[in-house]
Symmetry: C2
Subunit: 203 residues, 2 copies
DNA sequence: CAAAACAGCGTACACCTGTTCGCTGAATGT
DNA sequence: ACATTCAGCGAACAGGTGTACGCTGTTTTG
């Protein structure tokens, strides 16, 4: 039974996280974020920031965790839609692109910090992307009967394509996003066809 | 016949460009670069920076031009190696990965600024990557007899894979880079096989 | 109820940033 | 030879940064 103080503390912490997310943009990657600006937007004094996070790095790692939760939600959503019917590739790619459009800051953080900041940061980001790939790989093995090796290769390839395509979707209009989605679907199909041909060749 | 002054000016300008390249790293994307630090490393007073560039943005655009030159050199090198013989995909991917290893700063700038900074910055970066893709597309049309449409789709897919794989190569040892190279070769082969199957299906 | 804990505050510090302005000696142009 | 240009300089400005420290009123704990 949390008291008034614990509730307020969580509320302020949440405000800091949201403020940081808000301030991420194309021009301002995480490394450009100022502790003072984040605190100001959250409505507290800069020195109070340290009541919640040791430093900006710790806030950043928390943001990456948020990214991971969002990605997991994306996977669940895609799975539900696939069970409803329709082309697996189309549904998956469309779901992914919608996720990007609705979570631009999260996605941008993943991409920008994949090769940035400290080692712990990169590891955290890579961990989330690896989880995404692992789920896709499981799917390919269990539902499409690919060998483990070929499924792994395929999921890595597809992840590269969709994450890169997601990056192309920043700050474009609806029409352009549709075009990118269609192109991405065609590209994932290229990979699927190549994997199918490889599977047959190996039998 | 440039005079002493013109020569010295070019030398200082070169020093600024090199200093900026030196200071690009995983932790310090371009937006983190400090005009004063760049000037210091180049051996001049900060205010002298304005004798060469209007601001840091202009320096950044110059860096992107340097990236473009390097990418063009990469394409020439890959073409020469292909003519010497060997698997086209292997030679191309190996050449690309070697380029990344030798030009980490340049490559990192391309990736980080693809979705960063100002509009003019992004356009400059995208222009260079588009040129890379266009050359690959020409190759697929002229040497492999793909339709223009399929060649374009393929080159975009391959570019996504190799640029993403390049990003995986930052700060890894030789052995790990070899492993990534082999995986990338296998992935590009997936795409090629898929494209081949698509070509046959369309005939 | 009294003592302890603490979320948030304000002051202050040391340092950094980009940029303007005027100066100077060497190079260049006439 | 003289006048002009300019690469580079230093002083200064205004503004920003992250962080240490001590205080205070409210909440929590025993």
């Amino acid at each position: 039974m949390a008291g008034v103080r614990a509730k307020q503390k969580e509320k302020t912490r949440r405000a800091l996280i949201n403020a940081a997310m808000n301030q991420l943009s194309a021009e301002a990657g995480f490394s450009s974020l100022s502790l003072r600006e984040v605190a100001r937007e959250a409505g507290i004094a800069p020195t109070s920031f340290y009541r919640h996070f040791r430093d900006m790095d710790e806030l950043g790692l928390t943001l990456v965790d948020e990214c991971g939760l969002a990605l997991r939600q994306l996977l669940r959503q895609a799975r539900q839609r696939i069970e409803t019917g329709g082309s697996i590739i189309r549904v998956s790619v469309e779901t992914f692109m919608q996720f990007v459009a609705e979570n631009t800051a999260i996605f941008r953080l993943l991409l920008q910090e994949r090769s940035g900041r400290s080692r712990s940061f990169r590891l955290a980001v890579v961990r989330e992307i690896e989880h995404f790939k692992a789920e896709l790989e499981e799917y390919l093995v269990n539902e499409q009967s690919f060998s483990r090796e070929l499924a792994e290769l395929q999921s890595d390839t597809i992840a590269k394509i969709v994450f890169s395509a997601g990056a192309d979707c920043f700050d474009v209009n609806e029409e352009e996003r549709e075009r990118i989605t269609e192109t991405t679907i065609a590209q994932v199909r290229l990979v699927a066809r190549g994997a199918e041909a490889t599977k047959r060749f190996m039998k």
